[in-house]
């Protein structure tokens, strides 16, 4: 697939530095109160950004065929199915069909 290397040493090191910066960022941001739940969102977004960098550039997904993307996406999507179904049950645990909470 990748007949001649797409990535040069320089670009690897660049990605490495960006990843380090993002690690520092996520650690720093964690100590600042961003209000209602935004901390979790920030931590997750940065983690996803780092993950994408590693997948695309270090794992050469960017230069491989579409079916590799399908496999990677399937793994993530199925995890979301598991997460979604389980958390949906937890969140709506004492919700009546009409949307009010159980009160006997």
């Amino acid at each position: 697939m990748n007949d001649q290397p797409h990535m040069t040493v320089r670009s690897y090191i660049l990605i490495f530095l960006v990843l380090l910066a993002l690690t520092g960022l996520t650690t720093g941001v964690a100590f600042i109160d961003l209000g209602r739940g935004l901390n979790n969102v920030a931590a997750l977004t940065i983690a996803i950004a780092k993950a994408l960098l590693v997948i695309l550039y270090f794992m050469h997904a960017r230069y491989s065929d579409r079916f590799t993307w399908v496999i990677a996406a399937a793994g993530v999507f199925w995890l979301l199915i598991l997460l979604g179904g389980t958390m949906d049950d937890l969140i709506t645990r004492n919700l009546l069909p009409g949307g009010q909470y159980f009160t006997p």
């Binding site: 040493v9 079916f67 997460l83």
Partner: protein
């Protein structure tokens, strides 16, 4: 499909399995096989991440209190070490791709070293938890209001980082085997699939840690 010359050259080098038409097909098959395997690993760790998310939503206060007991600095350093090992791994694959044998071996050894450092820091953290009675089970002590849910946090802390560390140990074993083979010149620009697949595996283990670090260490630090 690359030129006809390449497969002939690689035929000689690679122990091309008889069931494949040519080396290109075998390489791509191994590449797909590895990615499918990594999808199973995503679901394997995914089970634990689901449990973690479930209990964190159930006990937000307890998970924040328990997470604050972890040492963020060590966590951050470990993340940096692991990202560094990802870099050296990628450079190892790059050197194998460009045919510089010595660079491949050196980067592989560097990756093993960084992995070992990570495990060293991790075992020091585990020792710390042992000393502070945070190991779940009979000896678990946790002052403050959240003793019960905190034990669940630490159960998953050990389960997830333990499983991750186990995958690191397997990774280091793989790297050692590949490094020996590389030193014996078994790889060439036309056939370096084992190095590439080990790289994929190693980057996946780094990926898991990229999510573990914020989920375990950075919970409720801002409170």
């Amino acid at each position: 499909m690359n030129s006809a010359a390449a497969p002939a050259a690689s035929d000689a080098l690679a122990a091309r399995a008889h069931q494949f038409e040519d080396a290109e097909q075998q390489h791509h098959a191994s590449w797909l096989g590895m990615w499918v395997f990594l999808a199973t690993e995503v679901m394997f760790f995914g089970g634990m991440f689901t449990c973690y998310a479930f209990y964190r939503a159930g006990y937000p206060g307890a998970f924040a209190a328990a997470s604050n007991q972890l040492d963020v600095l060590l966590g951050a350093i470990n993340t940096a070490v692991l990202i560094g090992s990802s870099l050296t791994m990628a450079l190892a694959v790059y050197s194998a791709e460009t045919g510089s044998r010595r660079a491949t071996v050196n980067f592989l050894l560097l990756t093993i070293l960084l992995g070992a450092i990570f495990l060293g820091i991790k075992s020091y953290e585990y020792h710390e938890k042992f000393v502070e009675h945070f190991v779940p089970g009979a000896a678990f002590r946790f002052e403050g209001p959240f003793a019960r849910p905190a034990e669940i946090f630490f159960s998953f802390y050990f389960a997830m980082t333990g499983m991750h560390a186990l995958h690191m140990v397997i990774g280091i074993g793989l790297l050692a085997v590949i490094a020996i083979k590389a030193r014996r010149g078994r790889f060439s620009p036309a056939y370096y699939t084992p190095v590439e697949l080990t790289g994929l595996y190693w980057h996946f283990v780094d990926l898991v840690w990229i999510f573990l670090f914020p989920l375990l260490y950075l919970v409720g630090r801002h409170l």
